[in-house]
């Protein structure tokens, strides 16, 4: 067992006592005492001491998402596999697993994104060993039949169906397909319908997927709340120590630079207002360079409720009722997506032109210093307010761990936000908001 760093525990404890979650720009954004250790097989465990008497959150972070779906015809498998992880082992068949979780009164579920998959449980603190037993067992010993596999494919199709009763799902799928040519971000996490429909025939691929990615060096355990760090270390060694490491490295295509604007118009068969997405390829997550933090500040300046676009399009003209924009943290370059619902169908061009003009303005006019300060303040207070119970804290830390593997990343990235200048914003806008880097998709109601 190797010891990992425990860089900020003492300092953070002092803040916790004084003021709880802090939002001051002078202090670390993630204030809770943290311990970390690594097993010989490469599994890393991060514990967060948080004042939640009797409650603990337990997250298993797998650094695999739809980004890892590199073979054609096999989109959606990271998400599918998340479902299969509830299909039991020899020790805990499905019914036994469900019964055990039920007895705990646990809130237990999972989710999958482009980059990672999380299995999460929130339960009484005295259930920690049972949780570790159940979770480690399915990560080490998952065992499902071909019939279970094919049955679960029906649930996946059901999830696709419920998502695609919303036009935004279709819009997002279209934007991804158009904006990317080779990178797996070309498809959304749920996968393509034809691949989902073919899933029942690919049992062997699902087994291969488990063998590739459900390995200790590709995972983190995050525990938050009421637990004993020493006991956690003992339990982790006991239950995860036999987990065999793997060595699979996916070959993920690098998306070539986009060289011209791409546009599409799609239709929706049911009543809807027009929707539009304007997307730009954006920088990958980094806690070292300024581009990504500058883009995040730009999203605030462009689309918060204090932004000129909000004032004009929503309050004055009243031609939109949804207006959002930004990029979600990704390991590879994601899209900065502007999502708009237009309330007056004859104003689509006006809305697009107004948004594009404001984006252009960001390249040429420096941001007002007070507005920049207010924006940084809003970002810090918003983040701090979300750290209000063990589950969200574990999810937050898991998010940053899957990106860089370093729990200190969360503090570093918020330090970078504080360093963003007006010049950074102009330069970043000029670098990424180019017409040749843009994809625009408009969705309207199908004509009668």
């Amino acid at each position: 067992m190797r010891r990992g760093p425990n860089q900020w525990c003492l300092l953070a404890l002092a803040w916790l006592v004084l003021s709880g979650v802090t939002a001051s720009s002078q202090e670390r954004i993630f204030p809770f005492p943290t311990t970390e250790f690594e097993l010989d097989n490469g599994l890393r465990v991060v514990g967060v001491d948080y004042d939640s008497p009797g409650i603990v959150a337990y997250y298993t972070v797998v650094r695999t998402g739809s980004r890892n779906e590199v073979e054609p015809g096999f989109s959606g498998y990271a998400h599918f596999f998340e479902h299969m992880m509830f299909r039991g082992t020899e020790k805990y068949p499905t019914d036994a697993y469900t019964d055990a979780v039920k007895r705990l009164g646990a809130d237990s579920n999972a989710f999958t994104t482009d980059d990672w998959t999380a299995y999460h449980t929130v339960a009484s603190a005295d259930a920690l060993e049972t949780i570790i037993d159940l979770e480690s067992d399915r990560f080490l010993n998952l065992d499902y039949s071909i019939d279970d596999y094919r049955t679960e494919a029906g649930a996946i199709l059901g999830e696709y169906n419920l998502n695609f009763s919303n036009p935004v799902a279709l819009l997002r799928e279209s934007v991804r397909d158009l904006a990317y040519t080779t990178h797996p971000y070309k498809h959304t996490t749920i996968g393509l319908l034809e691949d989902i429909q073919a899933m029942p025939e690919h049992y062997d691929y699902s087994v291969e997927f488990y063998d590739r990615y459900y390995r200790p060096e590709n995972c983190f355990i995050v525990v938050v709340g009421d637990f004993d760090p020493t006991e956690l270390e003992r339990l982790a060694e006991q239950y995860y120590g036999a987990w065999e490491p793997g060595d699979f490295e996916p070959t993920i295509s690098v998306e070539p630079p986009q060289t011209e604007e791409r546009t599409a118009e799609i239709t929706w068969p049911n009543p809807t207002l027009p929707w539009m997405t304007i997307a730009y390829h954006a920088p990958a997550f980094s806690d070292e360079t300024i581009d990504m933090p500058a883009m995040d500040v730009l999203s605030q300046l462009l689309f918060s409720q204090t932004s000129p676009l909000f004032q004009q399009l929503y309050l004055s003209d009243q031609v939109v009722d949804v207006l959002s924009g930004g990029a979600v943290d990704h390991r590879d370059p994601p899209l900065f997506e502007v999502l708009i619902r237009i309330t007056k169908p004859d104003q689509i061009d006006y809305v697009r032109d107004t948004v594009l003009a404001e984006i252009e303005r960001m390249k040429t006019e420096p941001v007002d210093p007070q507005l920049l300060a207010d924006t940084k303040s809003a970002m810090r207070y918003s983040f701090a307010s979300g750290l209000n119970s063990p589950g969200p804290i574990a999810e937050t830390l898991g998010h940053y761990l899957q990106l860089t593997g370093d729990p200190e990343t969360v503090n570093r990235v918020y330090e970078l936000y504080d360093q963003v200048t007006a010049d950074d914003i102009q330069a970043t806008a000029a670098r990424y908001f180019a017409e040749t880097n843009r994809t625009v998709v408009v969705l309207t109601q199908e004509a009668e």
Partner: protein
């Protein structure tokens, strides 16, 4: 919150709504101190304010459905006498503070969240929004459009699951004050004027029907100050209790088909219940319901039998009261209490060719519960689950505060404590007796969102057993039970079958 910021503004933040506090008819300008609810968390830097009024969609005048929701939105997305909405949002922005409203059938709640660093200036704005909202013409036009679009585009074309639930509400509560959506109706919203909103505010946002709640790291005396401020600034109410008639009695299986271009078939089933959290029988029914269909878990039979064993869809659940999932959690949003509740089953979209089977299976599962009840081992396991799980309802101060206020509404001890104490006193016989008293499978409102309504209707009315198609071979046990499901007879009331094109839904109260 943990991911990189994606600045999103989804017009409205439209909540749902709620109401009905036992109101005092007294003229004395004093807020009953018993109505103040405190959930202190002295070490927390965050503060939540929840101010709940006894006003909901049941207070909408005929032909003005949506008035309560629009009034709430004029508070949550409007300005004060001193600050326009634009100025107000600019003030709140650097604090990342929020003010929203949640409007349901009987109550409406104004919710504020702020860091302690900014409590004083935040509270001044929060209070003014409640007692003296701006009622600006431009805000009115925008907010009314937002609600209308929520019906015309949102419900009809952007979310079949919510469409199914609202269709069930309209069908189940036909002729009852609960019948309209919390958003109102398309025609009702179009008829509302700004004067209507101001009048509604004056009549319903009174010191006699308000419940104040504060939670988190607020300073000493804060709750008393909020109460005193509202007493001083809000008008007296008329003190009249609002009549709420009994829902109509369902007759057999009543079918409402909503026809649209649907990728799969969404189904919601329900009937009125006579009990709420105020009643002793709520708690044994809570156990029975969890056994049948606990929300978004594999604990319930519906989920295990329909999704787990058969892969019919993504999920199948049941409820004994109005349930709205709180964000990405699996827990119900607080502050939507009602004097009348309903039982429901939610079948998430099923491929069209398996939909008739799924409908029959869900109703049969309900019938099995009524006829056979829970076994002792099922009862013990479900009770143990609920007693532990209830602790997780209140992981944040805001949710804890909301539940405490709901408990005040229902006249009970704190809900989570009630669950623990009541359930520990139960026996399996208590549960099964309560099931027999309150649940049944013979008289149901059924809402079906599908693409070929006439075809589906004909399948249900025919003598042919419904088909079921699997991705794989299934066990003889499952095939055997499938035959029982196929042979389960529905009690369709042919006088109560309606097919409605989606464009006609929610135009007006039928």
């Amino acid at each position: 919150m943990m991911s990189r910021r994606h600045t999103a503004w989804l017009g409205g933040g439209l909540g749902l709504a709620l109401a009905m506090v036992a109101c005092s008819a007294a003229d004395t300008p004093a807020l009953p101190s018993a109505q103040g609810v405190a959930q202190p968390a002295p070490n927390s830097p965050l503060i939540t304010l929840r101010v709940m009024f006894d006003t909901g969609s049941i207070d909408d005048p005929a032909g003005r459905e949506g008035l309560n929701a629009l009034t709430a939105l004029m508070i949550g997305q409007g300005g004060t006498a001193d600050l326009s909405y634009q100025e107000l949002t600019a003030t709140l922005y650097p604090w990342a503070a929020s003010i929203s409203t949640q409007a349901d059938k009987e109550v409406t709640t104004v919710i504020g969240e702020v860091h302690v660093d900014h409590l004083k200036p935040f509270y001044d704005i929060f209070r003014e929004l409640i007692v003296a909202p701006r009622f600006d013409e431009a805000d009115f036009a925008r907010n009314r459009d937002f609600l209308s679009n929520g019906i015309v585009a949102g419900l009809r074309g952007n979310d079949d699951e919510e469409l199914g639930k609202q269709a069930l509400n309209a069908w189940l509560y036909e002729g009852h004050p609960y019948a309209a959506t919390e958003l109102g109706t398309e025609e009702g919203l179009a008829a509302i004027t700004l004067d209507d909103v101001a009048a509604h505010h004056g009549a319903r946002y009174t010191r006699d029907n308000v419940m104040v709640g504060v939670g988190g790291g607020y300073p000493d005396g804060f709750l008393a100050r909020v109460e005193a401020d509202l007493v001083a600034a809000l008008p007296a109410g008329d003190g009249a209790a609002r009549a709420l008639p009994e829902p109509r009695h369902l007759q057999g299986h009543e079918l409402l088909f909503v026809e649209k271009d649907a990728i799969a078939t969404a189904i919601s089933i329900g009937f009125p219940l006579e009990i709420t959290r105020s009643d002793d029988d709520f708690y044994p029914l809570m156990v029975a319901n969890s056994y049948l269909g606990e929300h978004r878990t594999f604990n319930g039979r519906l989920m295990n039998q329909m999704r787990g064993l058969r892969g019919l869809n993504y999920g199948d659940y049941s409820y004994i009261e109005q349930f709205i999932q709180d964000g990405g959690s699996t827990f119900p949003v607080p502050n939507i209490p009602r004097r009348q509740q309903f039982f429901s089953i939610w079948i998430r979209p099923v491929p069209h060719h398996n939909a008739a089977f799924a409908l029959r299976q869900a109703i049969r599962e309900l019938a099995l519960l009524v006829d056979e009840g829970l076994l002792e081992e099922d009862f013990e396991a479900t009770r143990e689950y609920l007693v532990n799980y209830a602790n997780l309802y209140v992981q944040t101060t805001s949710r804890r505060l909301g539940y405490a206020m709901d408990s005040r509404f229902y006249g009970t001890d704190f809900f989570v404590d009630e669950i623990r104490s009541r359930l520990m006193e139960l026996t399996v016989e208590d549960v099964n007796a309560a099931v027999r008293r309150h649940l049944q499978a013979d008289h149901l409102a059924i809402a079906i969102v599908t693409s070929d309504a006439e075809g589906f209707r004909d399948v249900l009315l025919s003598d042919e057993p419904p088909s079921i198609t699997y991705n794989t071979e299934v066990s003889d046990d499952i095939l055997g039970e499938d035959e029982a499901i196929k042979g389960y007879e529905l009690s369709i009331n042919t006088e109560r079958i309606r097919i409605v094109p989606v464009e006609e839904m929610f135009k007006r109260v039928s």
